[in-house]
Every structure is written in structure tokens, then in C-alpha cells.
């Protein structure tokens, strides 16, 4: 499943043993695809001597800070932007 800018996506809440680049505080959270970064080697295999193939598509995903943190003290428009690999995203 590929995504385009503007798509609503949810970060998978699954746990993962070993190296991965999906921060825990984003797991299960819903955001919006801002940009498609391109395809990059997969850190989940390259970290263990693999070649990182197949490459994984990487997206810049934006989240409302007020949805990430209960009682977020900043402004309602504040956002958190993170690069998330496609296999960690689900349609929302």
C-alpha cells in the first residue's frame, strides 16, 4: 500500500524486537502524509549485516501535538513531523 501527500495514516502499534526507526511515542497515532521522501534501505535488516533490500518507501508524516500528548501545553497548531517507513503505516 502506497500513500500520497494528504492521506490520513496510522502508525502501526505493533511491537518489534530489535532495531527499528519508528519511535514508540508515535505507535498507534494518526497523522497525515506530508511528503514522500523516496525509497531507502531497510534499517531493520541492514542493522544486522543484511543488504537492506527490498528498499522501503519513507514518508514525512505530520501529527497534531495536541493529539500526541494529553494536556499538551503549546499551541493548537503545533505539529510533530517524523519520517516513517511505509511498512509501519496503515490507512486511517
Amino acid at each position: 500500500m502506497t500513500y500520497a501527500p494528504g492521506d490520513r495514516v496510522r502508525v502501526s502499534a505493533r511491537s518489534h524486537q530489535g532495531h527499528h526507526r519508528t519511535p514508540g511515542y508515535l505507535k498507534g497515532r494518526t497523522g497525515r502524509v506530508e511528503r514522500v521522501r523516496g525509497s531507502f534501505t531497510d534499517p531493520e535488516t541492514s542493522a544486522y549485516g543484511g543488504d537492506g533490500r527490498p528498499e522501503r518507501r519513507l514518508y514525512l508524516v505530520g501529527f497534531a501535538q495536541t493529539e500526541l500528548w494529553p494536556g499538551y501545553p503549546g499551541a493548537a497548531t503545533d505539529r510533530l513531523l517524523a519520517d516513517v517507513f511505509e511498512h509501519w503505516l496503515e490507512p486511517a
Binding site: R21, Y25, R37, G62, Q65, Y72, P73, G74, A75, V84
Partner: protein, 209 residues
């Protein structure tokens, strides 16, 4: 010096921190196995410490005075760095984001310490600290205030968590009172912290009023 009263062996400062011991053991092993040479390691360190925030500051200053270059820097910071003779390093993608009166960006790597080292040199110790890495995402305005930057409520704050292959460089807003300054003079105002997004450059105090 040692003003509490329980017994333990003296804690001496000549013992290496555990992380340094581990890194040295790993290096020895990699050299012995022929994965890298000691020369490769030395060259890597030389390259890293040869880079300084002055490199990134040159890009920012040029973007401030050259609107065409600004657009190229925002479109592809890697290519823009190469254009000015800077080595953008091994990160596949370098993205420049621009602070404006409406939007402020700050950068963190919550997972480790990803940082645009080729353009800014080694990251400061606080950037790698657990406190910054956790609070920069959950209470970024509080962190900015501690750096002395009170962000007005109407400014949208965007925190960039560099979780993967992209490295971020913040182009701070050009401070008022810098009209007519040269590119070199402007570059001297662009601090490391302003390119991480935890500070704003300020114009030099007006010459004796």
C-alpha cells in the same frame, strides 16, 4: 572532595567511561578482522571534526541574500551544498526548512543523535541527552524557553524528529537590523543552535548610539 561517609573505592577521573572502553574494544576488533583500518578511523574522525557550524552558516547567509539560492537550498540542500563547494556528507537526503514569522522549526532525533554533521560538525552534548530527546517532542515550547526563546502562541511550532535517512538543517529567520551586511558578516551571526532551531540569530548591538 569526598564529603560523604560510606566506604567505596575512590572514583578516579583517569578511568575511561564505559562507552569509550566499549568503542575502543569494537574498533580493535574491526581492525583485527580487517573491516576497517586504523587509518580509516583516524580519517573519519579528522573529517568529522573538520566540519563546523560555519559551514552551515555559509549556506544560510547566502540564502538570506540570494533569493534564487534560497529556493535551491529549500528544494535540495544536498545539491545546494555541493554547489557552494561543501561536502554534504553521506546522508542520502538533506532537507533545509525555513523559519518565518509564522512557522518555527526545531530538530531532534528521539531515537539516537542523527544530525547534519557534514554541515554543522559534531552535535552538542545536550542534543544527545535523554532530556532533550524526550522533552523536545513532548514540551518543545518549554525547552525553547529554557534556551531563552519564548515563542509567541500564534507561531506554529514544527518539531522535526529525524528518525530515518533525512537530515534537517534549519534556516533561521534573518534578524531585523542586518540590512546592508555582507554575506560574511551575516554568516557570523548564524549560530549552531539557530540551525538546530533552539535559538534565533540576533543583529549585533547597534554601534555606540
Amino acid at each position: 572532595m569526598h564529603d560523604h561517609d560510606h566506604d567505596h573505592a575512590p572514583i578516579t577521573s583517569d578511568g575511561e567511561p564505559p562507552a569509550a572502553v566499549r568503542a575502543r574494544a569494537l574498533e580493535r576488533l574491526l581492525v583485527r578482522r580487517g573491516v576497517v583500518s586504523a587509518e580509516d578511523v583516524r580519517e573519519g574522525i579528522d573529517w568529522l571534526v573538520s566540519r563546523t557550524p560555519a559551514d552551515g552558516a555559509r549556506l544560510v547567509a547566502r540564502a538570506w541574500i540570494d533569493p534564487e539560492f534560497r529556493l535551491r537550498l529549500l528544494a535540495d540542500a544536498r545539491a545546494a551544498a555541493l554547489e557552494t563547494g561543501l561536502d554534504p556528507g553521506s546522508a542520502p537526503v538533506v532537507v533545509a526548512v525555513e523559519n518565518t514569522p509564522e512557522v518555527h522549526h526545531m530538530v531532534v532525533c528521539t531515537l539516537c543523535s542523527c544530525y547534519p554533521r557534514a554541515l554543522l560538525g559534531p552535535p552538542p552534548a545536550w542534543y544527545k541527552s535523554l532530556a532533550y530527546r524526550s522533552r523536545a517532542v513532548s514540551d518543545p515550547r518549554g525547552v525553547l524557553a529554557e534556551f531563552g526563546l519564548e515563542l509567541p502562541a500564534h507561531v506554529e511550532l514544527r518539531v522535526l524528529d529525524s528518525t530515518a535517512d533525512v537530515r534537517y538543517l534549519v534556516i533561521p529567520a534573518r534578524p531585523p537590523g542586518t540590512e546592508g551586511m555582507s554575506e560574511d558578516e551575516l554568516a557570523a551571526l548564524v549560530t549552531r543552535d539557530s540551525m538546530i532551531g533552539v535559538a534565533q540569530p540576533v543583529a549585533p548591538a547597534a554601534a555606540s548610539a
